[in-house]
């Protein structure tokens, strides 16, 4: 469900949307301060545990084939079924097949980014199945016919007032702007959905290789109901979503909730190993669909580190660009800084060459990442790839040889500086230029540009050296 607008058109829409600004300001600011407080509960602000979390992810990814095999064996040993899908289409096909084989009619879903990535809902509906999202944010988005704009807060782009209006229109809730009343209305509506669903579909936060356990963290309890009430539980996960052991999981959980919502632990941490046993409750069948969809191509490349991501969303909240444009402007399923790397990495720089440039490289994302992914470094890497693929704008391509010549030939540099000084001083009014020609017109759309100084630094430095002892002019 990608928009037909160009990246710049989407950005324009986002910047002009005042409600979006209000919503983003409220939420990202809150997430950021909650996160900082949560990490303050570690004596070293979490430095050591973040290092350890990074090591776990690095190690897992370096032996992914081994851990995938171990995980799959363990899932089957526990009575689950494992399905491998190399593409999004293959993953959706597997899900539809399982649903058809088991006479499934209605499906309830927990929050999952990978099913957004495969556009599973659309595929299920096209196959005649009913699917209802049970995470409150996802439910809101589904009612609105939109896509999530944040990894952990899919409806972050909506204000509570907008959500009140939506629930009023779609499910007949009396108009209110009190979140607790909205939650209660959605909850009442969803209760029957859980009880009547034949299949529950969830994502996976971590798969534990040694035990075949699926870990799912959430705050609403909808994840627990989705994975236990229906007779079939199907979990879809990206192949990189593994940790070797339960101990490693405990490390990841300590940084995940803190980074995501500022909690030490989320309200529900579900550990699911296999389907129901003979003497207990739970679903009759457990299916795990392991999705590649481009990930194995990213392994071993310069941007492979992006696969360490544990989908906490902290980089989105911290990013000054995301704070301005929100998630939808990015155009892909994954948004914000991580999306600006992951989307081109998974789907190719040809289609997504603008995303790595949607960053001032300020480094706020790297600062908050629980597994210390150097996102700015990878944005630069992808810019290099884009440049080599011919994606640099024409004016810049044209200017680069001149820039290179000037920056490597001092007399050309000084000649260029002299020309710029003469021109800017001629055109400036009281030392400032208020209108520059394209492509620099973007600058002067909102900022003035100073005229060059009458005398260069090097000239003044030399003069000062020659008149050693006399005061220089400032």
């Amino acid at each position: 469900m990608q928009s037909n607008l160009t990246f710049h058109e989407r950005v324009e829409d986002a910047l002009q949307n005042q409600t979006l600004h209000l919503a983003l300001d409220r939420a990202t600011g809150r997430f950021t301060s909650l996160r900082a407080n949560a990490f303050a509960s570690f004596a070293d602000n979490g430095d050591a545990i973040r290092d350890r979390a990074r090591m776990i992810r690095a190690h897992t990814l370096s032996r992914l084939d081994t851990y995938l095999a171990q995980f799959a064996d363990a899932v089957e040993a526990a009575g689950g079924h494992v399905h491998w899908a190399s593409t999004a289409e293959a993953a959706n096909t597997v899900v539809i097949q399982i649903a058809k084989q088991n006479n499934v009619r209605s499906i309830v879903k927990g929050k999952s980014m990978v099913t957004e990535e495969t556009h599973l809902n659309h595929a299920l509906e096209s196959a005649g199945l009913t699917v209802i999202e049970s995470d409150l944010g996802e439910y809101i988005i589904q009612l609105a016919g939109e896509t999530p704009s944040h990894i952990i807060a899919p409806a972050i782009h909506k204000t509570k007032e907008q959500i009140g209006q939506l629930l009023h229109e779609k499910i007949g809730m009396p108009l209110t702007d009190e979140p607790s009343k909205m939650t209660a209305a959605a909850r009442a509506k969803l209760r029957d959905v859980f009880l009547n669903a034949d299949m529950g579909i969830s994502g996976v936060n971590f798969g534990v290789a040694e035990t075949g356990t699926i870990c799912l963290v959430e705050n609403e309890g909808n994840g627990r109901l989705t994975t236990t009430a229906p007779r079939i539980h199907l979990a879809m996960m990206g192949i990189e979503r593994l940790v070797p052991t339960l101990h490693d999981l405990s490390v990841m959980l300590q940084v995940l909730a803190r980074s995501a919502t500022g909690q030490k632990l989320s309200v529900y941490t579900n550990l699911i190993t296999g389907p129901r046993r003979a003497d207990a409750d739970g679903p009759d069948q457990l299916h795990v669909v392991l999705v590649d969809n481009g990930r194995s191509r990213v392994l071993g490349t310069e941007v492979a580190e992006i696969l360490y991501c544990i989908r906490c969303g902290a980089c989105l909240n911290a990013c000054p660009v995301y704070q301005q444009i929100g998630g939808h402007a990015y155009g892909g399923v994954y948004t914000g800084p991580v999306g600006a790397v992951l989307t081109p990495a998974l789907y190719g720089i040809d289609l997504w060459s603008e995303l790595p440039h949607a960053s001032s490289l300020c480094g706020a994302c790297r600062e908050v990442c629980p597994v210390r992914i150097d996102i700015p470094r990878m944005l630069l890497q992808l810019r290099d790839e884009g440049h080599r693929a011919g994606k640099t704008p024409g004016w810049l391509k044209l200017g680069l040889p001149f820039y290179r010549l000037a920056a490597t030939t001092p007399w050309v540099f000084h000649l260029g500086a002299w020309l710029a000084r003469t021109a800017t001083r001629l055109l400036a009014a009281q030392g400032w230029l208020t209108k520059l020609p394209p492509p620099l017109s973007g600058w002067t759309a909102s900022r003035d540009f100073p005229a060059f100084a009458p005398r260069s630094f090097s000239a003044q430095f030399k003069r000062r050296k020659n008149h050693k002892g006399t005061a220089f002019t400032k």
Binding site: P320, A364, A406, A407, S446, A453
Partner: protein
């Protein structure tokens, strides 16, 4: 022992647009008894090319800058491990250019048999101006006087690139007469980002607006920074707004009135 001399890499923006910041740097360093060398032939460190993804161009510019900064090293007979001792520290009055030399020159030239070792040696000797004063010279206070309120914007590459948080604040807080007021959301990027301000000018402008609001909220008539690039961006925004807030490089405050 503190060094007797330094090499100043002045940066292209100080060369062309804000020479007074460079002269202030020289003034402060000389007052500390240092001999300031300004190696001829300096141009641009190449960061804009690097950030644009034009890495071949950036490499050529890095090689040029390394040649300029290593000119006094006797050619041919210095083994790489001795290079470091032969180089006076390189002082850069810009967090982002210093970060380019410190972090990205060695990466860009890693496979280069001649320039790889040069990049490593120069990077190890390169300091941003306030970082040099505090970390190398052990200076926490320079004799300076500035009357009135000012506020400080920590530029991103200085703060999160080089990890320099306290040095500029320490130096500023010890300026006689200066009333340093904290900038709200100080660590938020001003939206400059080099070509980002041109290629993504709408997003950049929105980020700048937020920064300008914060600056004006402080009521300080002077905004201090350690990167002429960010000051140029913020200053251009302030001027467009008709604000009377002035931008100054921290060296200009330290050099005194």
């Amino acid at each position: 022992m503190p060094p007797a001399s330094v090499q100043l890499f002045a940066t292209c923006l100080i060369e062309t647009i804000r020479p007074q910041a460079g002269l202030a740097v020289v003034e402060v360093l000389e007052r500390l008894g240092l001999t300031v060398e300004y190696p001829d032939g300096q141009t641009c460190c190449g960061q804009p090319a690097f950030n644009a993804g034009a890495w071949d161009e950036a490499r050529a510019m890095a090689r040029h800058t390394l040649d300029v900064l290593c000119r006094d090293v006797p050619a041919g007979d210095v083994p790489p491990e001795r290079l470091y001792d032969q180089l006076p520290p390189v002082v850069v009055p810009s967090g982002s250019c210093a970060d380019m030399i410190f972090h990205h020159y060695p990466e860009l030239l890693a496979g280069d048999p001649k320039y790889g070792p040069l990049a490593e040696a120069v990077a190890a000797r390169t300091y941003e101006f306030t970082q040099f004063l505090v970390e190398v010279m052990g200076v926490r206070k320079v004799e300076a006087h500035f009357p009135g309120k000012l506020t400080y914007h920590p530029s991103c590459h200085l703060l999160r690139g080089l990890g320099v948080t306290e040095a500029p604040r320490t130096l500023l807080s010890n300026v006689a007469g200066a009333d340093v007021v904290e900038l709200p959301e100080a660590t938020q990027c001003c939206g400059f980002g080099g070509l980002f301000a041109v290629k993504m000018s709408d997003i950049s402008s929105a980020m700048l607006d937020r920064k300008l609001d914060a600056i004006e909220k402080t009521g300080a008539p002077t905004l201090v920074g350690c990167d002429v690039s960010c000051l140029l961006h913020i200053g251009g925004g302030l001027h467009r707004r008709g604000s009377r807030v002035e931008t100054k490089h921290l060296a200009e405050i330290l050099a005194g009135p």
